[in-house]
Structure formats: structure tokens, C-alpha cells
Amino acid sequence: MALRSQLLKGVLDACVMAVVEEEAVYGYELSQKLQKIGLPDISDGTIYPVLLRLQKNGFIRGEMRPSASGPNRKYYFLTESGRDELRQIAAEWEEIATPVSNLLKRSE
């Protein structure tokens, strides 16, 4: 992962859940979407450890589905507890995002 920080790891978990909440996606689709959103410098592979971690915690689950392009793919869905987790992270993020970025901008 080009972005080494622990911070990004946590943020990435939330981003992946947010994308999955919107619509069930498979791996490649997910990495395309994250890049389109404009997250910098994330290599394609970064999402897989994230997906595994989220599955282990029960926040998302995988299911085989036929894809639009034909072959069966593993689509990821957000679970109930994933939804709760995402709500919570979003609320925490909301609280800290503006003050922190104001503060960091000032010290530049």
C-alpha cells in the first residue's frame, strides 16, 4: 500500500463499506469505483485485505452471482452490523473532519 498510514487503513474500511452499501459490487468493480472517487495512489490490490478484514468482522458478506459481463463473480453485500458500523464511523468522521482539516491547514 503506497499510503502507509494507519489512518488511511481505517478510512479505507469506511470507504469500501460506503461503496458496497450503495450497490453490491465485485472486486474489480470496487477498485474502479474507489479510483473514480479520487482516492489517491491506491494500488488495485489494496482492497482485498480490506474486504477480508470486513468479512472476518461480519460487516460484509460475499455471494456468487452472475455478472453483467457474463461469468459468475463474488459480489459483496453490506450486512446489518456493517450498516451500523458504517453509520457510526460516518458520525465520528463528521465530528472530526472539519476541525482537523482546519487545524492542519493552519499549521502548513
Binding site: 500500500m1 503506497a2 465485485y26 472486486g27 474489480y28 477498485s31 494500488s43 488495485d44 490490490g45 489494496t46 482485498y48 485485505p49 480490506v50 474486504l51 477480508l52 478484514r53 472476518k56 460475499g62 456468487m64 461469468p71 463473480r73 463474488k74
Partner: protein, 222 residues
């Protein structure tokens, strides 16, 4: 749900669609995951399939596989392994027991077949001592287990390295295999006869072997 066995089979076929560069990258990654005995096999095969699908799709989009595995593929593989669930103790135990049963099965069948073949030409002493045979089986499994661990470790140490330095490693792995086999032969010769003597018809050995192998097969389906 797809089982690990079907995933492996599907993977073997799909992998051939990769171009040479991507195939080389992918197979190193695959070996690294599969030779890590801590990893839950089912989850490992699932993520391998996810990555293979991803690679095929990015290949179709004209992207390099390096974008998937990053600049430090081994670190990436370690990160994936870290996130994968561990193999459950119960699964590992079932696997080991089924391997032992099938080893004993092969042993028994081979004994029966060799016995009947030899008896065409010469008088054969079919008496075997139970103690000897059980001790031999135990040590063979132990030596085989150590050899597999060592060879896996060696294979892993060659991955993600330039190809040139590998020949030596392969020679080493071969030597280890040969040494393990040598030790087994030596033990077969050294272990004394003890315990109750059994004497069976050749076909009973074959039958026992088949039953053991069937049991092993059944067990591995659990």
C-alpha cells in the same frame, strides 16, 4: 457454495487465460498462499479466485498485473495472509487423520500386491509383526511430515526472487526428498520385529487397504 476443491479446479482452467507476465506474478502469489499452512484453505482459495478474476479483467483493460500486486508483492501477500482466517484445528486434524489412513491403505495394498506377485516365483513368508508395522507407519508419517514442511519452507524462500537463484534451491529440495526417503528405508531395515504376529491372505491385505482408503476419502469430504 463452491468448495475448495472446485475452486482449485476452476482456478487451474482459468489461469491459462493469463498472459505470461501476469501468469508468472500470479503463480508466485498462489504458491505463497497455498504453502502457508496456517491459512484456512476455503478462504484462501476464495481470495485466490477473486484475485484471478481481477487480474483477468485488468488484463482485458490493458493494465499490468503489477498494479494489482504492487511494487512489493511479498509484503502484499503477507498482508493478505494476515487478513485471512486461520485454518480450524478440527479441519487440520481431519486432514492429517485422512492422510494417515490413506498412507496405511497404500501400504497395505502394496504389501498384498507385492506378496501375490512374488509368490508366483518363490516361497514368501507372509508373517508380519504388528508392532513393527505400526512403528514403521508412525515414523514414516513423521518423516514425511517434516520433509513436507521443509520443502514448503524452501519453496516459499524462492518466491518473489529472481529466477536465477532458484536452481540451487530445487536441487536442495530434491536432496531433502531423497534423504527423507533414505531415512524411511533405513528405518524399515532397522526396526526389529515385535508385537503380535499376523498372517493373512494377500487379498485380505488388498481389501484392508481399500477399506482404509475409502475411509480416508470419506473423512476428507467432511
Amino acid at each position: 457454495m463452491r468448495t475448495a476443491a472446485t475452486l482449485i479446479e476452476e482456478n487451474n482452467g482459468k489461469r491459462e487465460l493469463l498472459n505470461d507476465e501476469n501468469l508468472a506474478l500470479y503463480e508466485e502469489f498462489l504458491l505463497y498462499i497455498r504453502t502457508d499452512l496456517r491459512v484456512d484453505e476455503q478462504a484462501g482459495e476464495e481470495v485466490l479466485m477473486d484475485l484471478l478474476d481481477h487480474l483477468l479483467e485488468s488484463q482485458a483493460d490493458g493494465k499490468s498485473g503489477k498494479e494489482l500486486f504492487g511494487d512489493r508483492p511479498q509484503d502484499y501477500a503477507d498482508e493478505v495472509i494476515e487478513a485471512l482466517p486461520r485454518e480450524k484445528k478440527r479441519n487440520a486434524a481431519v486432514f492429517i487423520i485422512s492422510q494417515l489412513l490413506s498412507l496405511a491403505g497404500w501400504f497395505s495394498i502394496a504389501y498384498g500386491v507385492v506378496y501375490i506377485l512374488l509368490s508366483f516365483f518363490t516361497e514368501v513368508d507372509t508373517a508380519i509383526s504388528l508392532g513393527n508395522i505400526l512403528l514403521l507407519l508412525t515414523t514414516v508419517s513423521f518423516v514425511a511430515f517434516i520433509a513436507v514442511c521443509l520443502i514448503f519452507k524452501m519453496v516459499r524462500s524462492t518466491l518473489f526472487r529472481p529466477k536465477k537463484s532458484r536452481t540451487m534451491e530445487y536441487v536442495k529440495a530434491g536432496a531433502f526428498g531423497a534423504a527423507a526417503f533414505g531415512i524411511i528405508m533405513l528405518l524399515a531395515w532397522l526396526i526389529p520385529e515385535f508385537g503380535p504376529i499376523i498372517q493373512l491372505e494377500w487379498w485380505l491385505y488388498v481389501l484392508t487397504g481399500l477399506v482404509l482408503m475409502a475411509a480416508a476419502k470419506l473423512l476428507s469430504r467432511i
